[in-house]
């Protein structure tokens, strides 16, 4: 792997950019690997990267049915924050946030992490109580979060409508300054490049069709559209399709998959300096470095794998955006899209060993998995390498739905579910 640097840019500029190499290779699959990761999204690629860098396990394949980063990694609204209520969630999301800081240097790849602040609006007494509870809980866990008056919120985000006669007036806000955004594609590409350079095989257009188990129940490998590939350890990181893959191994999951939509506007000059979220009117917005307003909508109400969603869901979100930001009422929207998110009953992820020896699962991130990408990959690699969860992901078991030790993050995406 040739290091990217200002000198590399200068060198390539001198010789017509002929020296850039492929960021990752596309090898033929081997017959057997030490570890197979199912799904080349951010979480799967991060898992492979940390298996190689932290645990020295490089005989690893990441299998992807489509193209790398083409699922929810390339479809989310790139928001990063760690202001979750419960200790377990605070642990894993802040672990990720600490890794975001410095990730570009670690990967030698600009993931454009921008700690521009995530501001969550309160519109009524209930919101104030909930958000202040979050502020206090976060501070006890060493996570930055502060309470803003409407005037301070307006100062932090000038286009916000804080007038008292708004339909849903802003009565306060919680601000996490370390929160922000990152470039989602670059995260997948950076982890892929780093993993590939250390010998990990990334195999695209290779769909899993079955999970093979030995007589004693343990995993032997996976059947794919490119033939059988053996491995004693298989990590399933397949987002919306996690329950489909787990079913192939005979494990029924506490998951349901829903379409989640997002949309972007025409690009304009910088106008939204931070991320703004509102649970009550159900909208969140930020501005990409290209200038597009990036707007996240809610999920549809029914199970679907269609990677699309109802238009009325988008309309509902845009109503809310126009209420919060009247200056955007005449903005044109450029495109909208959907992804399939796998949602658990308690809105917290599952990163765990499974009842099947050698089979591990990292799923259930629901509507808010992007922010956790580095932390998720880091602790999931540990879980696979040691056959034992990292203390940070130890509470995120499958068994919690039997024992009742739920991690009931109703505010997991900061929008109503």
């Amino acid at each position: 792997m040739k290091k990217y640097s200002v000198f590399a840019i200068a060198r390539e500029a001198m010789r017509g950019h002929k020296g850039w190499e492929e960021q990752w290779s596309s090898p033929e699959p081997r017959k057997e690997y030490d570890v197979i990761i199912v799904g080349a999204g951010g979480h799967g690629l991060a898992t492979a990267y940390y298996l190689a860098t932290v645990h020295g396990i490089t005989n690893v394949a990441v299998l992807e049915k489509g193209w790398l980063g083409g699922g929810n990694t390339g479809r989310n609204t790139t928001i990063i924050r760690s202001n979750y209520l419960y200790d377990e969630s605070a642990g894993i999301y802040d672990h990720a946030l600490k890794l975001w800081d410095g990730l570009s240097q670690e990967l030698n790849y600009n993931v454009m992490y921008s700690a521009r602040g995530v501001m969550m609006l309160a519109h009524n007494v209930h919101d104030v109580q909930v958000l202040k509870r979050h502020v206090h809980a976060n501070r006890l866990n060493g996570i930055d979060n502060e309470w803003l008056t409407p005037e301070q919120a307006k100062e932090f985000c000038p286009p916000l409508n804080t007038s008292k006669d708004a339909r849903y007036p802003v009565v306060g806000a919680a601000l996490q300054r370390r929160g922000g955004t990152a470039r989602h594609d670059a995260v997948a590409w950076g982890y892929a490049r780093g993993a590939s350079a250390r010998g990990v095989h990334i195999i695209q257009n290779c769909e899993i069709t079955g999970v093979k188990r030995a007589a004693n129940g343990a995993v032997m490998g996976v059947d794919t559209t490119r033939g059988f590939i053996g491995a004693k350890k298989v990590g399933v990181v397949a987002a919306g399709h996690s329950s489909v893959i787990m079913n192939m191994a005979g494990v029924r999951m506490p998951l349901e998959s829903y379409p989640l939509q997002a949309l972007v506007s025409e690009p304009v000059k910088p106008v939204v300096p931070c991320v703004v979220m509102s649970n009550t009117v159900h909208a969140y917005i930020s501005q990409s470095d290209k200038g597009e307003l990036v707007i996240g909508a809610g999920t549809d109400q029914y199970v679907s794998y269609s990677q699309t969603g109802g238009l009325h869901i988008l309309q509902h979100t845009l109503d809310a955006i126009c209420e919060m930001f009247p200056i955007f009422t005449r903005m044109k929207m450029l495109r909208s899209w959907g992804g399939i998110v796998d949602v658990t009953p308690d809105r917290s992820p599952i990163l765990a060993k499974t009842p099947v020896p050698g089979l591990y699962v990292n799923c259930g991130w629901g509507t808010g998995g992007f922010k956790a990408t580095p932390g998720s990959g880091h602790v999931f690699a540990h879980t696979i390498a040691k056959d034992d969860p990292h203390p940070i992901n130890a509470p995120f078991t499958i068994e919690r739905f039997r024992t009742g030790r739920l991690i009931d993050e109703a505010a997991a995406a900061a929008v109503a579910h």
Binding site: V303, Y305, H312, R402
Partner: protein
């Protein structure tokens, strides 16, 4: 937006009138306190989440307000059929030649 046929109103109406009420044909135990943890987990949390044909409950919230069941393909979101609550799970689906 989906168009959904309410089997009580016998009309196809827009999705906005309906609420999805989750997977159908999950029987609630008559003796909930006697359920084992395993069985309660299966009843309360585990879902089939199929990629393909799903049996699900809907409620005609802003119409007759009654619950009914539907068969839908989760890949195309196309409804195969709807039927009244309490009717058995259809063993054969219309148009299912395979």
């Amino acid at each position: 937006m989906l168009l959904i046929r309410c089997p009580y109103c016998e009309e196809e109406r827009p999705e906005l009138e309906f609420r999805n009420a989750g997977e159908a044909h999950i029987a609630r135990s008559a003796n909930m306190a006697g359920e084992s943890d395993d069985d309660f987990e299966k009843f309360f949390f585990i879902r089939s989440n199929p990629k393909g044909i799903i049996y699900e409950r809907w409620r005609h919230m802003h119409g007759c307000a009654r619950f009914f069941n539907a068969v839908r393909d989760t890949v195309t979101d196309k409804f195969v059929m709807t039927y009244k609550a309490g009717e058995p799970k259809p063993s054969k689906l219309p148009g299912a030649g395979k």
